[in-house]
């Protein structure tokens, strides 16, 4: 009896202990996880920062001091660049290890190792896109400049030194939740991270959608609805700029567009509205007489924050700015001589080629009358709780065969993407970090290829902007639609010579600026198309900068936080002119009056912005109802007309046939009827929203900006951040994205710099520094940046110091 009792109890105890030490998804191993000695409790950082003061890092060559200021920005003082990068790796990992690894697992198509089958398709897409291959190509290129490759290795050594110093109970909390351990950091991971930026910023295209739409609408209607140039645009390089070079000849034959059979979408599209602003004003335009440079890159916001702020000081270098966790150096910032910033270039640098297979085996494809062999690569996915899954990816000389249907090879397409080209972004950024003047800057970024960026520049004398990237030489409209892979004339004819890239230095108007709009006026001699050219922000910024003289740092901050939407200004008067007030209730009339009195400023506590947003969206969907109906019926992926084109029709062609609603066979609607019908629907939707949410539909509530945790852990996300702004206003907030870093730098004798980003320096949701900047950011405030010349423990903003020794 006693034996039985004991054995039963023993089995129960041991069994329960075992179960609680293991993970039953979605729950973490509860025993481990709840233990104050081991689990999440250990991630409850002390409010008063207490870092290990003296750290031994064997691969350092000298001693390094890291001073943290009151916002937890590390200021690294090292004796040489290698030591500085090593310590950058160490301190970044100290704050952001989990994020660094998770992001690069995502870039490598390895998320299913951590999360399981749910994300396997996404991983397959990542591999088929050739992300790992592209990163390996980069790595080979980096090795050709050993002096820089050495710095990437030093960074990796720093990250690994930190990882090795950790015991499991010190792992970031996400490792404990998902129950895994960090792996070694490698230079390949840095390359993967940079490729992920290309994926976010330079993979947007509508080749398939455009082709389907063209085939459905016919050429004439397609060209009417989808013109390439926007008449109101204010390009990045102003039209005064003359192109005094002899352009490389490109064949002028028309690309052949293959017939498709109503294909559905290729890759997941990045949401619309990723964009950024940057500008610099000359000393003549500024109140102080010194140039001022500004930058606010807009990205899908996430927690831990995208950026990690840092200062790096060596005898050869003194830089301050934001870095990407996982990549050495500074991406956007300034040194003692220059300041720089980036926005994305919208040129389409990814094209699709329909393959003509010899047979269904995918072994050979037709090219120039011959059959070429594909290369087969077997991709392995170690899916959690499922085991290893294999997927074959075929490579052609265009690129990977990324669009496939397992059962039907007839629609297979090869993917040609600029990010697959060898490039040395790293050398570009390292050289930019130590540039002293315009020539250094222009040289440094010359090797930068993808994702193409508008690099804005200012030093104490000059301002400049280069549209920098490697751009394919394209025939007119090449790459706007699908192409056939069977001939040499559909290949990119080469690349635009770098010195022909659009650029401008010290223009007469006294400023340079970019906000993702067209790079040039139509007289630029090379063809380029884009899938995401914004226009409203660029027009607004150029207007403000042109009008104002003697601007101050405050004016610059105001422009970065400007909520005025030119889209609303372009559109609303033409919608309102049609409103038939006689059919509206008193309540609805009041709402219309709000819109009539509105100044097109998307301030957070106004109701009008929400009403306009809903109204315009309804107006758009009723106008283009034919598109939605056709797409639903045929299962085809389509392109949809731009907002500006829709507004253009509303203003100038109110009787355009597309305003006719297809379902009402006997009546013929015009913009007037569509405006009234959409208004009624919008006012009802707004009322419903207010009933459901039990509060007035103020813009901040309707916008509901949320900053999601990378692994979508709800309580590590910041939901309902109260803010104003709009995608088409300079302060480009949306529900999921916005200005990920705002920076203003005045190039006086002493540099005067300000910045802010949403989130905080620490990636630990248990740290007071996880989201401490968010409120400041949401309310448009800035922190003065502490740019140190020498280490100074006594400085009132320095809160703690780490000393690292070999």
């Amino acid at each position: 009896m006693r034996a039985v009792k004991f054995i039963l109890m023993l089995l129960f105890t041991v069994g329960l202990t075992y179960m609680l030490n293991n993970r039953f998804a979605p729950l973490p191993p509860m025993g481990k996880f709840l233990s104050p000695f081991f689990g999440f409790w250990q991630n409850a950082d002390k409010i008063d920062i207490s870092y290990a003061q003296d750290i031994q890092l064997a691969s350092l060559s000298g001693s390094v001091e890291v001073q943290y200021d009151d916002r937890l920005i590390p200021h690294i003082f090292a004796e040489n660049n290698r030591d500085a990068m090593l310590v950058q790796g160490y301190v970044t990992a100290q704050h952001r290890l989990w994020q660094m690894e998770f992001q690069t697992h995502n870039a490598a198509g390895r998320l299913s190792e951590l999360i399981g089958e749910r994300v396997l398709e996404r991983d397959k897409e990542t591999r088929r896109m050739g992300m790992v291959w592209a990163a390996q190509q980069s790595l080979e290129e980096w090795k050709k400049t050993p002096e820089y490759y050495d710095l990437v290795e030093a960074y990796a050594e720093g990250v690994n030194a930190y990882i090795e110093s950790l015991s499991p109970k010190e792992y970031p909390i996400e490792y404990k939740l998902l129950d895994y351990a960090p792996e070694k950091w490698t230079p390949l991971k840095t390359a993967l991270l940079l490729k992920q930026m290309s994926r976010t910023l330079a993979s947007k295209e509508f080749d398939l959608e455009n082709t389907n739409t063209l085939q459905w609408l016919g050429e004439e209607t397609f060209r009417d609805l989808f013109p390439e140039a926007f008449p109101k645009q204010s390009p990045i390089i102003p039209s005064e700029r003359k192109w005094n070079f002899k352009p490389v000849k490109v064949p002028d034959s028309k690309p052949v567009i293959p017939n498709t059979d109503k294909l559905s979408s290729i890759f997941q599209k990045m949401p619309e509205g990723i964009g950024s602003n940057n500008w610099a004003i000359s000393g003549d335009k500024s109140a102080s007489g010194h140039p001022i440079l500004c930058n606010d890159p807009h990205l899908p916001l996430s927690m831990p924050s995208i950026w990690y702020e840092i200062q790096i000081h060596t005898p050869h270098l003194n830089i301050y700015g934001v870095s990407l966790p996982g990549s050495p150096g500074v991406i956007i910032g300034f040194n003692e001589h220059i300041a720089w910033g980036v926005t994305n270039v919208g040129h389409d640098v990814s094209d699709w080629y329909l393959l003509d297979w010899k047979d269904g085996q995918r072994g050979e494809y037709k090219y120039e009358g011959k059959y070429l062999k594909t290369k087969k690569v077997i991709e392995e996915f170690k899916v959690r709780n499922l085991g290893t899954i294999l997927d074959t990816v075929y490579y052609t000389h265009f690129g990977s065969v990324a669009y496939t249907d397992e059962n039907d090879a007839s629609n297979d397409m090869a993917y040609r993407w600029m990010a697959h080209e060898r490039s040395n972004e790293l050398a570009a950024f390292f050289n930019l970090n130590k540039a002293k003047n315009y020539d250094d800057y222009a040289d440094a970024i010359g090797v930068y290829s993808c994702p193409a960026q508008n690099f804005v520049f200012a030093d104490r004398q000059d301002i400049a902007l280069w549209v920098q990237g490697k751009f394919p030489l394209k025939r007119k409209e090449q790459g706007r639609f699908l192409q056939k892979a069977d001939g040499a004339d559909s290949q990119w004819a080469g690349f635009i010579p770098r010195e022909h890239n659009p650029h401008i230095k010290n223009p007469e108007r006294g400023f340079v600026s970019s906000a993702n709009q067209h790079s040039t006026a139509p007289d630029y001699p090379y063809y380029y198309s884009g899938a995401s050219f914004g226009d409203y922000r660029g027009r607004r910024i150029n207007q403000v900068l042109a009008e104002k003289e003697k601007m101050t740092i405050k004016d610059m901050m105001a422009l970065q936080n400007d909520n005025y939407s030119l889209q609303a200004a372009d559109c609303l008067p033409f919608l309102l002119q049609y409103v038939d007030k006689s059919t509206l209730s008193k309540e609805d009339l009041e709402q219309v009056e709000l819109l009539e009195d509105w100044d097109y400023i998307f301030d957070q506590d106004k109701i009008a912005p929400s009403l306009f947003k809903i109204w315009f969206k309804k107006f758009y969907t009723i106008t283009w109802d034919e598109f939605y109906t056709y797409a639903r019926k045929s299962g085809t992926a389509l392109s949809y007309p731009d907002y500006w084109r829709t507004i253009d029709f509303l203003e100038n062609q109110p009787e355009h046939p597309f305003f006719d609603i297809a379902q009402t066979a006997n009546e013929k609607e015009t913009a007037r009827e569509v405006a009234n019908a959409s208004l009624k629907a919008a006012l009802k939707a707004a009322k419903d929203w207010e009933t459901d949410n039990e509060k007035p539909i103020k813009w901040q509530s309707y916008l509901n900006t949320s900053i999601q945790h990378l692994a979508r852990i709800p309580d590590f996300s910041l939901n309902g951040v109260q803010t104003g702004g709009d995608q088409y206003a300079p302060n480009a907030n949306s529900s999921w994205g916005g200005p990920s870093w705002r920076m203003v730098v005045e190039m006086g004798n002493e540099i005067d710099a300000y910045g802010v980003y949403p989130g905080g320096q620490s990636g630990n949701p248990g740290s007071p520094y996880y989201d401490n900047f968010t409120k400041f950011w949401a309310t448009g405030q800035y922190y003065p940046l502490l740019f140190m010349k020498t280490p100074n423990n006594e400085h009132k903003r320095i809160i703690t110091t780490q000393k690292m020794k070999p």
Binding site: R2, A3, K5, F6, M9, L10, F12, T13, L16, T17, L20, N21, M30, G31, K32, L34, S35, P36, F37, F38, G39, F40, W41, Q42, N43, A44, D45, K46, I47, I173, I713, P714, D715, F716, P765, G766, S767, P768, Y770
Partner: protein
């Protein structure tokens, strides 16, 4: 007296063991101590439960306070503790306590089987066994 000693030993030794061994070392400590103390199983359970309940609870409160409750607030929402830090602290402590109690109870039952201590108050039971 035995109870107090058992409680103190489990609390202090498990505190040490959990510094450098996995969390479940507390189960082993409770098991061993209870085996050595040879109390009745429900008494052992109680001493193991209380020892771990107190150490886990006190340590959790210590960490919670040093962190001004930032993490506890998030975790109390993420885990089903209705957003209450106090419930989360209590929940962790009860959970640890339960495991400590189980370990202790198992230890005393093992001792009871293999090397029973003659206990005056247990005579009736012992006699019964002898008769058998």
């Amino acid at each position: 007296m035995k109870f107090a000693i058992s409680f103190l030993l489990i609390a202090s030794l498990s505190f040490v063991s959990q510094q450098f061994m996995p969390w479940w070392s507390l189960v082993i400590v409770a098991f061993v101590i209870s085996w050595l103390m040879g109390m009745r199983s429900w008494q052992s359970f109680l001493s193991g439960f209380l020892a771990i309940f107190i150490t886990w609870g006190a340590y959790a409160i210590f960490l919670h306070q040093g962190n001004a409750g930032i993490l506890t607030d998030r975790m109390a929402n993420l885990l089903p503790f209705a957003g209450s830090s106090i419930l989360l602290i209590l929940g962790s402590a009860v959970f640890g306590g339960f495991m400590g109690g189980l370990g202790a109870a198992t230890g005393s039952l093992g001792r009871d089987w293999l090397a029973p201590v003659s206990k005056p108050r247990n005579r009736g039971r012992n006699r019964k066994r002898m008769r058998r």
